[in-house]
């Protein structure tokens, strides 16, 4: 069973983070026989700790990363991002939508051209390079609509979306490619339409590294998980290679794990923050940052939510939250007035209190109360599209503010590119049209929430001057340092990012194991 490794054992690979990137990578390495120590800042919950958060006893506070951050620009500064501090990371909280990138989305600079204000760049890899790993990832995660796995049944909220979408002429409408079991698979049960997927799946029908990759890695005897272990900084030797990771436990005790290679998967804020906080005499700009691109090009998808009061009852809290998608608008079609595309996905409210709080964030009074009385008639969808990388959007360190570990607090800046605004306007129009085609009584457009996807900040690039890492996530400057999460994304695409994070992690594991076998690190 679970093995333990000595702090001085410098033959281990250290993986920082246990979510989609870190958890997958660690298991893939362990399966090959590479010894791995996985540091996770959060606690290890068991599946019996996961309850839905339809009532006041919300799981969100227990899962979400709530350490101090300062948001500027269009971000709701005081609100947390979609980042989790828990074993399993955001795979505990995610909705399960598992879509592949489209071919052109790996070549945005070539296909979209030179767009003012955007820092576009082609990925150093193509869809063809990633396809075998997408296949493996979908099989691993049990993605519906792939590998002969049936799609999930549509719930009421989906059926409203489907009917409206078809009525206005959309063709590609289905219950999605979901990493949620539609039938028992991989020793996990089929979905029971519990709803509130983003509070954590209480029965484990939804793929999460918490109860898939992590225990499988432990069973190999090549893996040790250290929860409640916050990585503080990476250390390097005179050759400029990483040789240790300093981390803190919950009591504030510091440890240093010696290592052969380090893979960072702390999500798009903590990953660049760790590199920047690890500055040294040799690397005064932070690690792996001779390009100056560490922390830059933060992407979070262009999003919006549309709710509508329908002529009949919907009860949109019932069933799988995001099992429903319209993909017609995800293609590249600049005639719409913007580059990139967007997906339209089902998204119910998160309960009555949440709907009342967020439907119209400052509304009150009897008119508003009457709207909320129509709760049962609400339908909801989410618009999620490609946002463009911008050099000034990203993560920097606050010059003086320190967190509980004494580390510089991250400052996160994000402003919309005009392309993002044009896309959102178009997407709101589409969402509204879907519901109006079914004679919706009222339609509400909700601006982007604070929690969306997080990508970029340590991007892949062919040339070292343009980005932080190569097509395998290996840092250009430091060959035994890897970026293993969504931070390595060069573009954001119209698709939810988890599948691509998992596919990249599988690919990276093979590459890294091969290099280790050849004694290159």
């Amino acid at each position: 069973m679970a093995k333990t490794f000595d702090l001085k054992d410098d033959s281990v690979v250290v993986v920082i983070g246990s979510g989609a990137g870190g958890g997958t990578l660690a298991n893939e390495l362990a399966q090959i026989g590479v010894d791995v120590v996985c540091l996770e800042a959060g606690e290890r919950l068991s599946i019996t700790d996961l309850r839905d958060y339809s009532q006041a006893d919300s799981m969100l506070g227990r899962l979400t990363w709530l350490d101090k951050r300062i948001g500027t620009g269009d971000l709701h500064a005081a609100l947390p991002l979609f980042v989790c501090k828990t074993v399993g990371g955001t795979t505990v909280q995610w909705a399960g939508a598992t879509l592949r990138f489209q071919e052109h989305e790996f070549k945005t600079r070539t296909v979209y051209g030179d767009i003012e204000g955007a820092n576009l760049l082609d990925w150093p890899l193509s869809l063809r390079d990633l396809e075998p790993f997408y296949n493996e990832a979908e099989d691993k995660m049990g993605v519906t609509g792939t590998h002969g796995i049936p799609r999930l049944p549509g719930n009421n909220n989906y059926r409203v979306l489907e009917a409206g979408a078809r009525r206005i002429g959309y063709q590609s409408v289905h219950t999605g490619n979901m990493a949620i079991n539609s039938e028992p698979r991989d020793n996990r049960p089929a979905c029971r339409q519990i709803g509130f997927c983003t509070g954590g799946c209480a029965i484990g029908a939804k793929w999460s590294t918490l109860y898939t990759e992590i225990p499988k890695a432990e069973a190999t005897g090549h893996f040790e998980l250290r929860p409640n272990s916050m990585a503080l900084r990476l250390t390097h030797g005179s050759q400029g290679c990483i040789d240790g990771v300093i981390y803190a436990d919950n009591a504030g005790n510091h440890f240093e794990q010696k290592t052969r290679a380090v893979c960072v998967a702390g999500n798009s804020v903590e990953t660049p923050r760790l590199l920047l906080n690890s500055e040294s005499y040799e690397f005064p700009q932070g690690l792996a940052n001779t390009s100056g691109q560490v922390g830059r090009n933060f992407m979070r998808h262009t999003t919006g939510t549309v709710y509508a009061i329908m002529p009949g009852r919907v009860s949109f809290e019932r069933g799988t939250q995001m099992a429903g998608v319209v993909t017609d608008e995800s293609a590249f079609d600049p005639r719409r007035g913007f580059v990139g595309g967007y997906e339209i996905e089902t998204l119910p409210g998160f309960g009555l209190v949440n709907l009342a709080t967020n439907l119209s964030p400052s509304a009150w009074g009897s008119d508003y109360a009457q709207i909320l009385e129509k709760y049962e008639y609400f339908a909801g969808l989410w618009l999620v599209g490609e946002d463009l990388p911008q050099a000034s959007n990203g993560v920097t360190l606050h010059p003086t503010e320190r967190d509980q570990h004494g580390l510089s607090v991250p400052m996160i800046h994000f402003i919309d590119h005009p392309n993002d605004v044009a896309m959102r306007t178009h997407a709101f129009r589409s969402g509204r049209a879907i519901y109006e085609s079914l004679s919706a009584e009222s339609v509400f457009e909700l601006p982007p929430g604070p929690s969306t996807h997080n990508m970029g900040t340590c991007r892949q690039s062919e040339k070292p001057r343009d980005g932080v890492c190569n097509a395998y996530g290996q840092c250009h400057d430091i060959p035994n340092l890897f970026i293993s999460d969504g931070s390595q994304f060069t573009s954001s695409s119209a698709e939810n990012p988890t599948l691509t994070i998992v596919a990249l992690a599988i690919r990276q594991a093979r590459y890294l194991a091969d290099r280790l076998r050849r004694g290159e690190m």
Partner: protein
Amino acid sequence: MRHYAAAVDTLRKKSHACTAINDLLLDVVAHVDAAHGLPWVDLSADARRAVLVSLERTAFFPVLRTMIIASLYGNPEVQKMFGYGGSSVEFGGYIGRGFDDIDWLSDN
């Protein structure tokens, strides 16, 4: 009306346990009593609304709004009235319990 009273009662209980909430509520009461020359309880419904509109931009207003929403719409009795089903895991999910029971969509 009973449910609004219950929501206020929830706030009252919270204020006993938390000085900050207590101070905030005292501040709200002082404001609404002072706003119109007459105590709040003696104001007409229209005048009350006007008073609240005048306080919309205060720092306490959104905090109060959030607290009232949580206590009013978090009340299981209110949720039942609204048809909000809430947590389902303890009943085996919404499978077989109406997750796909929509009946007003036509097939075209």
